[in-house]
């Protein structure tokens, strides 16, 4: 399982080295810290998306959530002048609530995740634009948000707080996903929901929780992005960000069929995407090609991963065949070539 992450890390290192060799500005401290900040900003909600994708679902609503929660957040601070920790809490709760509603629709009312979150994407965006009459919201001078703004866009010893926050969050979610009972259930549900249910796992709870976590992280991301841009234009704020998250998760080893992926993978996937964007700028590639470069790398990466996996599986199957003494050709055409795998090991003697 760590093979995938190692491969991704090597890819990241090679691309960075090549870019750095062509243009040393890529490796300058300023540029690296700038990238770290962006990785932090995009990584937070990509992790939530990763959890959702591991359940076999998808969350398309994140970008619109940012717009809706963003205008509400700025309004709470500027118009209503609410104490900032309370505003932060309200936005977090808002994200959790939106995630909860989506989770409810998906698990209890058995709607498809794609449809539920696509409608979320449309509804939240529309609501944000209506709420603000399509006008941009921002902070005035001397607003209440000073302290929080300093935290969100500040740094410790030069390292952006967003990046530090991402690392802490990744550690927590890493334990949750890879060490906790909940994480095990998440993988089991993603791989085979029916068998999980037959084992007494409350599959609805497991799936809905993933959407709630994703919504909550979207709430936190909203605040981080608001202080990154300092204003929210409801029609464009967060546009396409859900696709960045999905791309990072897929690049990081999540399968849209569910049951696969890791926290480290998603973080590395986010980092790779940001490096690619940065490289387009640094190497003087026309900015219009930005998305095309990203798309190509994801396509090639996923393709290469699939080929490698298929090769590994073939090897395992061949090794199994060699071990099986009695062989009767291709009976039982079970999926994934399981029929060709070893059924026993040395008990023929």
């Amino acid at each position: 399982m760590m093979k995938k992450e190692l491969g991704l890390f090597l890819l990241l290192a090679v691309i960075s080295a090549i870019t750095g060799a062509i243009n040393p500005a890529f490796l300058s401290v300023v540029n690296l810290l700038n990238m770290a900040n962006l990785i932090g900003l995009f990584g937070v909600f990509a992790l939530g998306e990763g959890l959702v994708i591991i359940t076999g679902g998808i969350d398309l609503s994140l970008g619109s959530m940012f717009a809706l929660l963003g205008v509400v957040f700025i309004d709470l601070l500027t118009t209503y002048e609410i104490y900032w920790p309370l505003a932060l809490l309200l936005v977090l709760l808002g994200g959790l609530a939106l995630g909860g509603i989506q989770g409810f629709l998906i698990t209890r009312l058995k709607m498809q995740p794609f449809i539920v979150t696509l409608c979320g994407l449309l509804i939240y965006r529309g609501a944000a634009r209506y709420y603000t009459s399509d006008s941009t919201r921002g902070f005035g001078y001397g607003d209440e948000a000073g302290t929080l703004g300093n935290i969100a866009s500040g740094n410790i010893a030069g390292i952006p707080n967003t990046f530090i926050f991402l690392i802490i969050l990744a550690l927590i979610l890493g334990v949750l996903l890879h060490r906790s009972v909940y994480g095990r259930w998440l993988y089991a549900v993603g791989k085979n929901e029916e068998a999980a249910r037959f084992s007494g796992i409350n599959t609805n709870f497991v799936i809905a929780t993933a959407y709630i976590i994703s919504g909550g992280l979207a709430g936190i991301s909203t605040v981080l992005f608001v202080f990154y841009t300092n204003s929210v234009s409801p029609s464009s704020f967060g546009n396409f960000y859900e696709l960045y998250a999905i791309a990072a998760a897929v690049l990081g080893g999540c399968s849209l069929r569910g049951g696969e992926g890791s926290i480290l993978g998603v973080v590395l996937g986010t980092a790779l995407l940001q490096v690619l964007q940065n490289l387009v700028n640094i190497l003087g590639i026309p900015n219009s090609l930005n998305f095309a470069v990203m798309g190509t790398v994801i396509l090639v990466g996923v393709l290469a991963d699939q080929q490698l996996q298929a090769r590994r599986r073939r090897k395992a199957a061949l090794a199994g065949l060699a071990r099986t003494t009695l062989l009767q050709g291709k009976q039982s055409a079970s999926p994934r070539g399981a029929g060709a795998l070893p059924t026993s090991t040395g008990d023929h003697a």
């Binding site: 334990v175 037959f198 007494g200 409350n202 009695l326 050709g329 399981a338 090991t345």
Partner: protein, 508 residues
Amino acid sequence: MAETLLELRGISKTYPGVRALDDVNLRVYRGEVLGLIGENGAGKSTLMRVLGGVIEPSEGVIRIGGNDHARMTVSEATRAGIAFVHQELNLFENLDVAANVFIGREKLAGGPLKLVDNAQMRAQVTPLLERLGADFAPDTLVDNLSIAQRQMVEIAKALSIDARVIIMDEPTSSLTISETERLLEVIADLKAHGISVIYISHRLGEIMTCADRVVVLRDGHTVGELARAELSHAAMIRLMIGRDLKSLYTPPSRPPHPGGCDIVGLVTSAFPDRQINLSVQRGEILGLAGLVGAGRTSLARAAFGIDPLLAGEIRIDDARVRVASPRDAIRQGIYLVPEDRKKSGLVLELPIRENVTLASLLNYARMWLVNGAAERKVAKEQARSLSIKAPSVDMEAVTLSGGNQQKVVLGKWLSMQPRVMFFDEPTRGIDVGAKSEIYALMRELADRGVAIVMISSDMEEVIGVSDRVAVMHEGGVSGVLEREQFSEYNVLRLAIGQALEKVEAAAS
């Protein structure tokens, strides 16, 4: 008799460790109905799959229309006029009748555009449906048809390829009596048109009605052939059984424990107008027999909390238990070893270890964090006590054989505290050695005081392993047999809905 349409000579099929078919000979004449009977696992379906070109025989010759084949492909079989009406109907529910009949052979129009000519296909299907006396139009969506009507679609499909031999595998298992009669009429009509039918069924009454000749398979051999004049229930059953069925039985090592599980007035959503009453004692293996679709699996699913109980209650040791979900059932010690282990029993891509602890992971965790060492220890214990053959408990379940996979499912439940266990077809697709291990395990569990319900369609298993047998018919329990009443004949009679008095008379 008339000309020979096809002949199978010396057909054998060997799987690792199993000889599914052994030197089978079969002849089909033009325009006859050939009954093919035998217990589950006797090799009927394998033989028919050889004939249909789905699997190739290890030895033997298939002679069709004067040509000898060592093996056939599906398209060769189709070209030779062999058609299947499957037990599980293979139709596309989202397409209409005509589209299903012509699937893969669509009539085209529009020249190079290769458009599907729906009008022409429907026009060609109409006379076929009329001939079969079907009461639906060719543009009906298959989704809207009953099982019996879908069967007519399959037969129409067979007719449309000019089939000369139609193989029907348990065609009446889901039909009502009048639908069955209708099907038998259709078969008579096919016969009159010179088409041969190979009719596979457990329902000997139907065989008596329609077969011109019966071939009996047992353990992969052809053990006998009965001409029309020789047909009788007794003769057929004698050939089918032909061996001591009680050889498997290990009696309980101690008298039954007090208490057990009572299912009282249970109504499942599959049969909303039937009540089920059933008791199983601790320390007893209750076999649950019946035809496919008799409601045995629905009962197990309801008792395990997967499907809702519409009415009734489940009592363990005289205390009512609530099972609204599998989680509730598991908390009460009611476990289910499901019929389809790959779909419902295991997460195939997870290692043995994680499958074993899937249902009880919270027991090996503190503050919701998994204690890897404790988990591994339990998995290893189960792997050892069940003798799961794998190099390590970190192997993915998908790499194991069927028998070992089933043991992993068992390990999942045995690592907890079972009180009542439902086994749904526990040995389906499992080789002989692993089978006897699983029987021994069930007996051991029973001796430890677990109440066991074993759903099985394998007659040898039902009669050989159970302490008592309950038989289900159309959603209800049609009778319960004590050991001294055990016989394949009695079970079959109850399974087709005969009253218990008659059965007792037959048994005495």
